[in-house]
Each structure stands twice: as structure tokens, then as C-alpha cells.
Symmetry: C2
Subunit: 119 residues, 2 copies
């Protein structure tokens, strides 16, 4: 079985956002992880880019679950970025909306996000 | 009036995608533009990052309009990335899904996307 390079973005569905707002937050997470990996995890970054920068968007139903997922990513030493909204529109400033993890191998990401459903 | 740095992502709504798929495509556009700007348009990249990497997601209703928007961005010399889906899921390989433009000043982006509605 292939073990592809992916980035996973976990969206907190308990935060009410329109589809464009949500997509912008996912974009924020993806950019933050990509730039961090480019600097500090170049091998995974290069492999992920070479394989077409695949992304998977999944969901959790509570902020607690989002934060627990971040801790699990930290424990494995995975590049990750917790996104807080600036609060210009729709949300209160500092509201956490989503979490980017990776890029990393699918098999490693599965240890953290393998049980989460696609958004 | 302030002239903030933004990135605009234009989604082609004539392509049928679920919300997670769409968010992943927006993420792809955002990462592609950010990495391109980091290399080739460092001044705008740095200013955008310093201002919190703002993103706006807007929509067009036809692929023709998406491509016309890309041409307008090219004409102004704006960093941009037309995203084609790899076709692993949901869409046929090579389907264009969205277009990232910028980062650039809002006033410049408005010449290209100022008439487009928020997604």
C-alpha cells in the first residue's frame, strides 16, 4: 500500500461559519503549515510538494476535540497550526476555527486523525 | 481609507464539490500563491504575512469567467494560481476548480475581483 504525503486540516464544526469563511480558514491553516514545514521540516515539505500537495479536510464536533487533536499532533512532533480568527467578520476575535497538521506520511497522520470523518 | 494586503481566492461554482473538497481546493490555491509570492514577490508576501495573511473567498458562476479573471490578473502582473484537481475523488482529472490571486493591495485586487460576490 502506498503511504502518500498529505496535509490534514481539521475543522471545528461547533463554530458557525459560512462556506467561504470556512474555506478561508482552511486556507489559512494550509498556508501556515506549508510555510512552517518549508522552514523546519524541509524533507516532508519537498516530498509533499512533489506528490501534488494533497490535502484532506476532516471535522470534529467540539473545540475540546480540536485541542486534543493538536496535543496529539504535538506529541508526535508533527508540524501543525491552530488557526484563530482575527475577528474581522462573523466570529469573535481569537475564536479557534481549525487545525492544520503536516505535511506528513498518511500512516503517521492516521495516528492522530485516522478516526475523523471527512467534512 | 486603509489599503490592506489580501489574497483573493475565486471559486468556480459551476463545478460541483462538497464543502470539504472545496475548502481543500481553496487551500491549494492559497498555498500555491503564498509560495510563489514568497519567491517572486517577496515585498507583497512579507507585507501580507505581517498583516495577518488575510484571505477573501469569492465566486464566479462559469469556468469562462474564472479564466477571464485569470487573464485579468496576468495582465496586471499579479501572482496567481489556477488550480486543477488531480481527480483522485469527485472530479475528472484536470478540472479547474479555483483561482488564487495575490497577495496584493486591496485596491489592486479590486481591479480584477472587485465585482465578484463573496462565496
Amino acid at each position: 500500500m502506498s503511504d502518500e504525503m498529505k496535509m490534514v486540516i481539521v475543522v471545528d464544526r461547533s463554530i458557525k461559519m459560512g462556506p467561504g469563511k470556512m474555506a478561508a480558514q482552511v486556507g489559512h491553516a494550509a498556508v501556515s503549515c506549508a510555510l512552517a514545514a518549508e522552514r523546519y521540516d524541509k524533507r516532508n515539505f519537498d516530498a509533499w510538494m512533489a506528490e501534488g500537495q494533497q490535502k484532506v479536510v476532516v471535522r470534529v464536533d467540539t473545540t475540546k476535540e480540536l485541542l486534543r487533536t493538536k496535543m496529539a499532533a504535538d506529541d508526535l512532533g508533527l508540524t501543525n497550526a491552530l488557526i484563530k480568527d482575527a475577528g474581522h467578520t462573523q466570529l469573535a476575535p481569537g475564536t479557534t476555527t481549525c487545525l492544520g497538521i503536516g505535511p506528513a506520511k498518511q500512516s503517521v497522520l492516521d495516528q492522530v486523525t485516522g478516526d475523523l470523518k471527512l467534512l
